[in-house]
Each structure stands twice: as structure tokens, then as C-alpha cells.
């Protein structure tokens, strides 16, 4: 499998979109599940009530990988997510998540070779304000 070819074919373009409305109870429930105690995350009456920074990690699109991607999603494992917050997510926001493959790279570790696929989801609100970027790393090990 040629990594450069894979990158050229699959990175840098949106392959999936998902739309959803942010509900107040979802924000509070998720914040509480994370152990959050700050009023601005758990009290809808707070003047700066908003989503906890990692809230968008709970949102998945309709596809993990692009159509025709030569790796089976079910043979990958989750190597974690990182979130960059650009603007607060508020209750009532109509948000859209747009998925793309941001990077594909190889590395070697104690257990052997690994292929990393970075699934990036950018989130925008109803005014097209960029709210967050979530980089979700998927790994396929060489012996899989």
C-alpha cells in the first residue's frame, strides 16, 4: 500500500456531512457525565452557558472512512481524539459536522508497524462560524 498515493486520493476533501440541533439537556448531560461542575457547562441559566470543550467528540458522522477507502474500518482501533475549540457551542445551535481525511501516515512501535488515519471533523453553526475541529486517529496494525 503506497501511503503517498492514499494521501493524494483521499485527503483534503469532505466525504461526509451530518446536521444536528444542539439540545440543552444534551449539553448538561454530557457535561455531568464528564464530571464537570462549572456552572457555565451545567447550568442552562448561566449567562455563558455552553458545551464543554470535548462535547463534539461525541458526535459521529455517517461514515468513518470515505467510500472505496482500501481499509476496513472494523480492522482499525481507536487511537484517541484531540479537540481544538474555535468558538463556543451553544444550546439551540444548528451545527454541521464535515468529515475529511486530514492525514495518513505510518509509524513503527514496540508492537511493529502501524498505519494511522486522521479523520478530521470540522463543526460549524447556523451562521457558518467554525466552532471546533476534532481529529480522530484510527490505527491499523501491520499484522491485522
Amino acid at each position: 500500500m503506497d501511503i503517498e498515493e492514499l494521501k493524494n486520493e483521499f485527503t483534503g476533501h469532505v466525504f461526509d456531512k451530518i446536521d444536528l440541533k444542539v439540545e440543552e439537556e444534551s449539553l448538561v448531560g454530557y457535561a455531568r457525565a464528564c464530571g464537570e461542575t462549572q456552572p457555565r457547562y451545567i447550568d442552562p441559566e448561566h449567562p455563558d452557558f455552553q458545551a464543554v470543550p470535548n462535547y463534539p467528540t461525541r458526535i459521529h458522522g455517517t461514515r468513518g472512512l470515505p467510500k472505496n477507502f482500501p481499509i476496513d474500518m472494523h480492522r482499525c482501533f481507536d487511537a484517541g481524539k484531540s479537540v481544538t475549540v474555535h468558538a463556543p457551542i451553544r444550546s439551540g445551535d444548528q451545527i454541521q459536522g464535515r468529515s475529511e481525511i486530514a492525514d495518513i501516515y505510518e509509524k513503527t512501535g514496540r508492537s511493529g508497524g502501524m498505519l494511522f488515519i486522521v479523520h478530521r471533523m470540522n463543526f460549524y453553526n447556523q451562521d457558518d462560524v467554525h466552532l471546533a475541529t476534532v481529529d480522530w486517529r484510527l490505527v491499523q496494525r501491520e499484522f491485522d
Partner: protein
Amino acid sequence: MILDLHTHSIASDDGRAKVENYCQWIRRKELPLDGFVLTEHRQFDDASDYRSLEDRFGLLILKASEVETEYGHVLVYGVNDDLRAAFDFARIDNPLAMVLEQAKRCGAVAVPCHPGRPKVGLCAHWEIKGPVEGVHTVETLNGGSRDGENEQALEYAEKFGWKRIGGSDSHIVSHIGRFATRFEDALTNIDDLVDALRAGRFDAVRPE
């Protein structure tokens, strides 16, 4: 002078430490380190400028790389444009002999790291594929090693007369300084470090 020669920041895909937080940790814990070298995975971080942190914390912060070869991972000190043009730092199958040769040609120093580690260390590959010309220094104290791995690295270093460096291989803040390298000279920049590594005026240490 004591430097941790093997650290990773958030510039590496698996690094979770910000460089400023390394500095804060070293000072808060009063670690006996005079500085550290950032050895980001499969890249050279050209963009970052840590001079203000050096001034603020009184630490030497240098930049290098950790590249991957068919004999395991290799730290490269003194990365310059010539060396970056010589091979692809992002590849995981660079030939070790080529990396050693190109580093030497470009005025850099290449040091196999965590040699005792399975899959990504020099020793296991050396046993299977045979020796490689040009190794002169290895990392015998690596902070991420499991039982027996540093011992095997030391065994090889003694057997072949290689010089020894130490580094934490830290990916999180609290791991910096687990191991380091003591230099006989005062170093102020990457050229000094390369000169000292070439001259062999150093040894691996556990900072106390």
C-alpha cells in the same frame, strides 16, 4: 552540563507535553537539567522558536529529530537543509546505513535510540540482519525502556565500544529528566552539541 537528549512535545503525533510545561516542571521540581533536546518523530520542527522560553527559564532548548529505519529508531542531532534533502524523514523504512552516512556527510550526528527495544531498537535487527558500519554512539539509558532493554543496550555498547547517551524519551511533562547526558563542556547551541557528540565528551547519566 546535563541535557535530556530525547524528548517529544505536542509537535509529535503522540506527544502530550507543551515545551513551556517542560520548562515549568524542570524548575518547579528543581531537576538538575541544564536543558533538553526536542526530538520529534519523523520530522524536524523548523517553525518553533523557543528562545523566549530559554531566556525565561534559563534552559537550553535545542531541536533534533527521531527518524525511523529498518534497524529501528535513530536520533539525529544537527539537522540542516542538506540532511533534510538527503532522505525522507517521514518514511519508516529508511536504511540505517544511509542515515548514518548522510548524517556524517551533512555535519550531523546519528544515534540509534532505545536499542534494546523490540521491533524499533537496533539490537534485535543487528542479530538478524547483521552489523552496520558507522554506529559510534547509542542511547543506553532510555526513560521509556522496560526491564532488560537498557541493559541490553549497554551490553552492546560495551561489546562494540560505542559511546553512550541518555534521554527520557518523554511524551508527557512529568517524564522529562528520567535519564540524561552529562557533557564535559558548556554547550550553548546545536553546533556545540554536535561537536561534543563527535568528540565523545559525554556519558549517559541518571540525574540525581
